[in-house]
């Protein structure tokens, strides 16, 4: 027992000893370690992990070992590939520890920000390959670099997506989701988010940029019309579909039209959706609408009740309720086919389609063919349509209309039998007798008569016009006025309802209904000047049908203004902002004659002449734009915010880069070599480009070899191409030089540096020549000579004329 206890105590003592030794060794390690590692490296903060970073138990560190652990996002490969910040010239090749310090405490910055003067905020982002500009330069790093490592909780800066959408996906109201569309720089600048760039860098017609190319009127629609609140991701599955799948809510849901493509009826090139002229019913459906159906609205046939079912082509399917004939026409079907009598799509229900000869035994000719059915077939309603039992071809008088014809007191049932009718009348239904045998008819209705019967009048039965009856009930040929529309006369003005007066012949000719004599270009009527002003038809107006402008046939009351209350009121895309005088800009040919220079306060010239209207006016309402340049042209970055809104101070509309006119006016027209130097050469320190004093010397002071004694306007002598050759001619300085003096150095005379004045006497420059010459020249003591010109000439000392007293005279170098 004692042995066991002793062994246990010994074991415990050994265990305690080992712990003490281990603790002592640990104390030794922490005593020799330069300091605790950062929290990120806490797992390495032990003696047996030193060589995880250090090389061979030395203080030396290895980049490879660092990268061995920190090869997240392939950092090593990126460095080798020259990508990213760690591959930049200022970082590559450096030891990791030169920036990422360790052993400075658990809370020390492992990212190395403290190695940068100014810390994280002073980090030069350009080293990463992306220079931060504008607001990006002032944005906090963490606003973009939001990711943190899962293990350490440290912020991860590498691998941040550079695409705008990575940060601004939620900032943009456009709700764009495709990565390649989230290239904000196409429309926005980094310095100034608003206003956006005047020319957005995307093409709506390019399928890469937009799903739907802009056609027709869409080109003039303001962006926000479709993209409300700048939402460019339209909430439709098929944004290029017009109807319920696109921008335009279709009212045809549940209709046959709703099941058809919008463009069958509507065209983007039309002025509005109500215009459905593009749809050709006969082509699309093989059902010709005819004039009557063409006038009614589509939904009157294509009812909601039918839904997407096509209506039957048989008239009676739609018009069953219109059948007023009862079973009178049961011979023609049940229900009777309307087409038997009524023309399909005819202008009216008038039964002019009944083929009397085919369906009955009595072919209608002449007068019979012209009279209304009811004239023979009496009855108070269509269902009481009278039948004739006899054969009307043999017994004219079987018809009630002829039963008592030619009756008189002596012949109350008519003078003639049925068999006699055709003895006088040429044909059945032809009431006209042989007029050649009637002189009075020829006198009145002959070619030279008071009322020649021409054209359609030729075939009109006499009684059709001569409706009067004598006491015997016979046709009376008296008291018929030649006026077409006189009271009680032949032609009832059912069309114009008297609005155009009673002088039909002003427009119509006798026997012809077409208004061949009407001239839209002349006032109406011609002999009543100004009653209705002339409205000459031009261009597209000529192609219109009368009904397009005179839908109610109210010819005289049709307005002549275009928009305010006229035909095109609904066409005003400008919403009345530009007034109601459409004709000032638009003409009937469809051309636009608007002249910006004469019809607006903003004159267009130069490059402005070539831009599209929509480049400046985003909406066709043409809401007035700012007339200063800044309204459309925000100050570019090149100006560095120095020059404000006065673009016109320097630029013209000729080209944006043409700032020459600024320096091409008056005294300071910069040309020649000045066109080849940078503006900063004179406007240094980014000084206002408005004035350096306009004096050459202000920039060329160091080039002045004249000791500042001449004009500061170098251009008085020099050109702008170079200082030499100069335009200066000495004759302008009051001194015409000749000979040698024309080409010697200026300084030879103007040695004192003063070019404003010099003594012109020869001796003034050459006295020393004379003095030093002494008597070396035979016979002349030059020391005493001060009048050089007595012997010498201004070109060279020799030849000298020493034999005369007057010499070359004019004791001056100047001629």
């Amino acid at each position: 027992m004692t042995r066991v206890v002793g062994r246990a105590l010994a074991l415990a003592a050994l265990l305690l000893l080992s712990l003490l030794v281990r603790a002592a060794l640990a104390d030794q390690f922490f005593g020799s370690s330069p300091g605790p590692l950062t929290r990120s490296h806490a797992t390495l903060d032990a003696q047996d992990h030193c060589n995880d970073c250090h090389v061979g138990d030395s203080k030396e560190l290895s980049n490879d070992k660092c990268l061995g652990c920190h090869d997240h996002q392939n950092l090593g490969a990126r460095i080798a590939g020259g990508k990213g910040f760690h591959a930049s010239a200022q970082v590559k090749g450096k030891k990791c520890e030169s920036c990422h310090h360790e052993h400075k405490g658990k809370d020390y910055d492992p990212m190395g920000w403290s190695s940068i003067k100014g810390g994280q905020k002073a980090f030069d982002h350009e080293l990463t390959g992306w220079q931060l500009k504008g607001k990006h330069a002032a944005t906090d790093c963490n606003d973009c670099h939001k990711a943190k490592s899962k293990e350490q909780g440290l912020r991860v800066f590498m691998g941040t997506d550079r695409g705008c959408g990575s940060c601004h996906a939620k900032d943009q109201p456009h709700k764009l989701v495709k990565k390649d569309l989230l290239a904000c720089e196409r429309c926005h600048g980094e310095s100034v988010w608003k206003p956006a760039k005047p020319a957005m860098q995307f093409n709506h017609d390019d399928r890469k940029d937009a799903t739907m190319p802009l056609l027709g009127r869409h080109k003039d629609v303001a962006c926000t019309k479709c993209h409300v609140k700048n939402v460019y991701k339209l909430p439709f599955a098929k944004p290029d579909s017009c109807g319920n799948a696109g921008c335009h809510q279709s009212p045809h849901s549940g209709h046959l039209f709703g099941a058809r493509p919008c463009e069958w009826c509507h065209s983007p090139t039309f002025k509005d959706l109500a215009n459905t002229q593009v749809f050709d019913h006969s082509e699309r459906t093989r059902f010709d609408l005819g004039p009557a159906h063409r006038k009614i609205k589509c939904e009157q046939c294509h009812t909601k009740a039918l839904g997407e079912v096509k209506p039957s082509r048989a008239c009676e399917q739609c018009h069953a309720k219109d059948n007023k004939h009862g079973d009178r026409f049961k011979e023609f079907g049940s229900p009777p086919r309307c087409e038997t009598c009524h023309p399909s799509g005819g202008p009216k229900w008038t039964p002019n389609n009944f083929n009397h000869g085919a369906h009955t035994k009595f072919k209608l000719e002449f007068k019979h063919a012209e009279v209304t059915c009811r004239a023979c077939h009496r009855g108070s309603s269509p269902s009481e349509f009278e039948r004739f039992a006899l054969n009307p071809n043999k017994d004219c008088k079987s018809c009630h209309a002829h039963a008592r014809v030619h009756a008189d007191d002596e012949h109350p049932d008519g003078k003639y039998k049925s068999a006699q009718c055709l003895q006088c009348h040429r044909n059945g239904g032809n009431i006209i007798v042989d007029t050649k045998r009637s002189a009075i008819i020829t006198e009145v209705h002959g070619p030279t008569g008071t009322f020649p019967l021409v054209k359609r009048h030729k075939d009109v039965p006499c009684a059709a016009c001569h409706t009067g009856r004598d006491k015997k009930g016979k046709t009376s040929f008296s008291e018929l006025k030649p006026n077409c529309n006189a009271a009680g006369q032949c032609h009832e003005d059912s069309l114009h309802k008297g609005t155009l007066g009673d002088k039909c012949l002003g427009c119509h000719s006798s026997g012809v209904w077409d208004a061949l004599k009407f001239d839209h270009d002349q006032p109406f009527p011609k002999d009543a000047k100004g009653q209705v002003a002339a409205f000459p038809l031009k261009g597209e107006h000529r192609k219109n049908k009368c009904e397009a402008c005179h839908p109610q046939r109210k010819f005289a009351e049709t307005p002549t203004t275009c928009a305010s209350d006229g035909c095109h009121k609904q066409d005003d895309a400008h919403r009345g902002r530009l007034g109601d005088k459409c004709e000032q800009c638009h003409v009937e040919t469809g051309d636009n004659i608007f002249n910006h220079n004469t019809m607006s306060a903003f004159k267009l010239d130069g490059k402005h002449l070539t831009v599209r209207c929509s480049d400046c006016h985003p909406s066709v309402t043409f809401k007035p734009r700012p007339t200063d340049c800044f309204g459309c042209h925000p100050e570019p970055a090149v100006h560095k915010g120095q020059y404000g809104t006065g673009c016109a101070q320097c630029h013209t509309t000729r080209t944006w880069g043409d700032v020459k006119p600024l320096h091409d006016v008056g005294d300071f027209s910069l040309r020649g070599m000045h066109d080849n130097i940078a503006c900063e050469r004179c406007h240094r320190d980014n000084r206002p480009l408005a004035g350096s004093g306009n004096l050459c010397i202000n920039c060329h002071r160091q080039d002045d070899i004249h000791n500042n004694s001449l004009s500061p306007r170098c251009g008085e002598c020099h050109t702008q191409w170079s200082f030499a050759p100069a335009r200066f001619d000495h004759s302008r300085a009051g001194c015409n030089l000749t000979g040698l003096h024309r080409t010697i150095a200026c300084f030879d005379c103007h040695k004192n540096g003063n070019f404003a004045g010099a003594s012109p006497l020869c001796v003034s420059c050459h006295r020393d020549d004379a003095f030093r010459q002494g008597t070396t020249f035979p016979g002349v003591d030059h020391k005493a000579q001060v009048a050089c010109a007595t012997c010498h000439n201004p070109n060279s000392w020799l030849p000298a004329n020493i034999n005369m007293t007057t010499g070359f005279k004019l004791e001056s170098v100047c001629r």
Partner: protein
């Protein structure tokens, strides 16, 4: 004791923490001390105003917006500039950093070769009236031609090795024909030189050669440079700019002052001479003149300028010249600009005759894009130091009572007032009409003969020659059609200078007419310009008898007319090469009066040729 122990423990614990985590302010104070620093590039450091976007990006150590210094060195050193449409077609523009140069040194510059030639021919002048005996044939034209060719190298080095250092080199060498003084059997003291440059001789000029260190607030320049903000003084020395704020920069400089107007290293520091003593002798004034100055430059959104004082101090023989200078520009609204440049001598030889050495002041009126008006006043005077001017003068003749230009310095100021009005007419200002009137005035001057002694060695009374005040009025008018037929630029202008009073300014009345036509070549890659001009002059003394005691009557008594015809052609072969040339033909006829008789000299026909080829890199 316990408290002390606890305090020591707290301090001991804080020291390693402080060492491990330096404060931001420490970074700011220890600018370049940390070798491990990852440089946040020059933009973040210097935050120059030309760095696009720097205003919003660059911050100082405290996180506030960085200072935007003024750029006063006359060169756009912005290494982060962006391409812009205004410079796209220009040749002498600053390069844009590429990704490669951004990590090293941006080098840009140009080499320009220029050659010039002038030759003239004429006839033989007629023998003077009343001449006796045989008179040698004297040609009306010069006996030799002018010819020079030079080569100029301009190079900028920016952010050298991504450091804060920039440099600029601008050097030029010129070779020129020197006709000398060779005449058969006679070699005059005065050697004739060609009309070229400063002295008409070969030149090797260092126009600029400097290094600059761009600091956050301070720029330090070393080397040959101009100080544009303080009178355009050229120095070989040191200049320091300190931006106390974005609007105000102090600047000072000091160094050696080369001979003003010198264009060659062999004359920059030529031996200087004193003014002649009473006996006409001159003493050495050494070779060097020192210069120093202090001033400030300012800028606001509507104004900029500078002012300060400059001292030019010869080491001997002449008291220092001290002058104040100011230049500035002020935009008063959008229609008026005012500007000025003043050099006011307050001490020294220049202050004797011309306290107000230089004044340019004016106003530009621009009511709209189509109308410009200017009013200006200019006064100019010689700015030469006596010791530097004397360096090029011959010794005076103590025995001759004459005005001797080569030994004499007279400062003569001239004044000019000018007004002009220009109007642009037509679509896009196709036409321009300009009218201007200028009035020039030079005050009366009395020329005094240099020091002289009589036969006994005693000074004699100096001879004087009064020159009356001279005035003239110039009327100028011109019209330009910028886009005429075939898009030609056509211009016609003329001027007439009329004397006012008894003496005409520069003693000459003249009429000048000029017509020019210009057009682009190859869609703007080049341009040609043709010109024909006519000029006629008439001297005040024309028809008067010359008297050697009256300079006015003797100086020029002729009338002349010049017809010139020529043009320039500029063509840019590639983005980096251009050539420019010009040829002009002049026909000069002079009629002078000899003994009241009008004599027509043989006409002189001159031919000028000029060629420049430039390459940029």
């Amino acid at each position: 004791m316990t408290r002390i122990l606890v305090s020591l423990l707290v301090i001991g614990a804080a020291i390693p923490h402080a060492a491990a985590k330096p404060k931001a302010s420490d970074d700011a104070a220890d600018d370049d001390s940390d070798d491990r620093e990852v440089r946040p590039t020059r933009k973040a450091r210097a935050a120059r105003p030309d760095d696009d976007g720097a205003a919003s990006k660059a911050t100082d150590a405290a996180g506030g917006p960085a200072l935007q210094k003024q750029d006063l060195n006359g060169h756009d050193l912005g290494a982060s500039k962006q391409d812009n449409v205004f410079e796209r077609d220009r040749f002498f523009v600053d390069k844009i950093d590429s990704s490669k140069t951004a990590q090293g040194t941006l080098v840009q510059g140009s080499i320009t070769s220029t050659s010039f030639g002038y030759h003239e021919s004429g006839g033989t002048l007629a023998a003077p009236a009343n001449s006796m005996g045989a008179v040698g044939a004297v040609p009306s034209a010069s006996g030799f031609s002018r010819l020079f060719t030079d080569l100029r190298l301009q190079t900028d080095f920016r952010h050298i090795g991504t450091s804060r250092w920039d440099a600029r080199v601008d050097v030029r060498g010129r070779m020129v024909t020197e006709p000398g003084g060779t005449t058969d059997g006679f070699t005059p003291t005065t050697q004739a030189t060609s009309q070229s440059g400063f002295l008409g001789k070969n030149e090797l000029e260092i126009k600029e050669l400097w290094l600059v260190r761009n600091g956050v607030r301070s720029d330090v320049f070393f080397g040959r440079q101009f100080v544009p903000d303080l009178g355009g003084v050229k120095i070989d020395g040191l200049r320091v700019d300190y931006a106390s704020s974005a609007k105000f920069t102090l600047l000072g400089f000091g160094g050696l002052y080369p001979v003003r107007g010198s264009r060659s290293i062999d004359t920059d520091y030529t031996p200087l001479l004193s003014n002649p003593a009473a006996d006409g002798t001159r003493s050495s004034a050494g070779r060097f003149t020192t210069a120093g100055g202090f001033g400030a430059a300012y800028r606001t959104p509507d104004a900029y300028g500078s002012f300060g004082g400059v001292v030019l101090a010869p080491l001997s023989s002449e008291s220092p010249r001290i002058f104040g200078t100011s230049s500035g520009y002020w935009r008063y609204g959008t229609k008026l600009d005012f500007y000025h440049f003043v050099v006011l001598d307050v001490l020294g030889s220049n202050a004797v005759n011309a306290g107000l050495t230089n004044l340019s002041a004016g106003v530009n009126w621009k009511p709209d894009q189509r109308l410009r008006g200017t009013l200006s006043f200019n006064r100019v005077d010689t700015e030469t130091l006596n010791v530097q001017a004397q360096a090029f003068l011959s010794n005076p003749d103590p025995n001759a009572n004459v005005i001797q230009n080569e030994a004499y310095i007279q400062r003569i100021a001239t004044n000019e007032g000018r007004g002009s009005l220009s109007a642009g007419l037509g679509e896009l200002q196709r036409f321009e009409i300009t009218a201007a009137v200028a009035y020039r005035y030079r005050g009366a001057v009395t020329l005094t003969a240099p020091p002289q002694l009589d036969a006994t060695g005693k000074p004699v009374m100096a001879a004087t020659f009064p020159l009356p005040a001279a005035q003239s009025v110039e009327v100028y008018g011109g019209i330009t059609d910028r886009r005429s037929i075939k898009d030609l630029r056509l211009g016609v202008d003329g001027s007439r200078i009329l004397g006012v009073g008894s003496s005409t300014y520069q003693r000459t009345s003249s009429t000048t007419l000029r017509a020019s036509a210009a057009h682009d070549l190859a869609n703007g890659r080049g341009e040609w310009e043709g010109e024909v001009a006519y000029n006629s002059t008439r001297d005040d003394s024309a028809g008067k008898t010359c008297s050697t005691t009256d300079l006015v009557s003797c100086s020029g008594a002729a009338q002349s007319s010049i017809v010139s015809l020529g043009g320039n052609v500029y063509y840019r072969f590639t983005r980096d090469w251009f050539a420019m040339g010009s040829v002009f033909l002049n026909y000069t006829s002079i009629t002078h009066f000899d003994m009241m008789t009008s004599v027509a000299d043989p006409a002189v026909i001159g031919l000028t040729g000029f060629l420049r080829i430039a390459y940029r890199f």
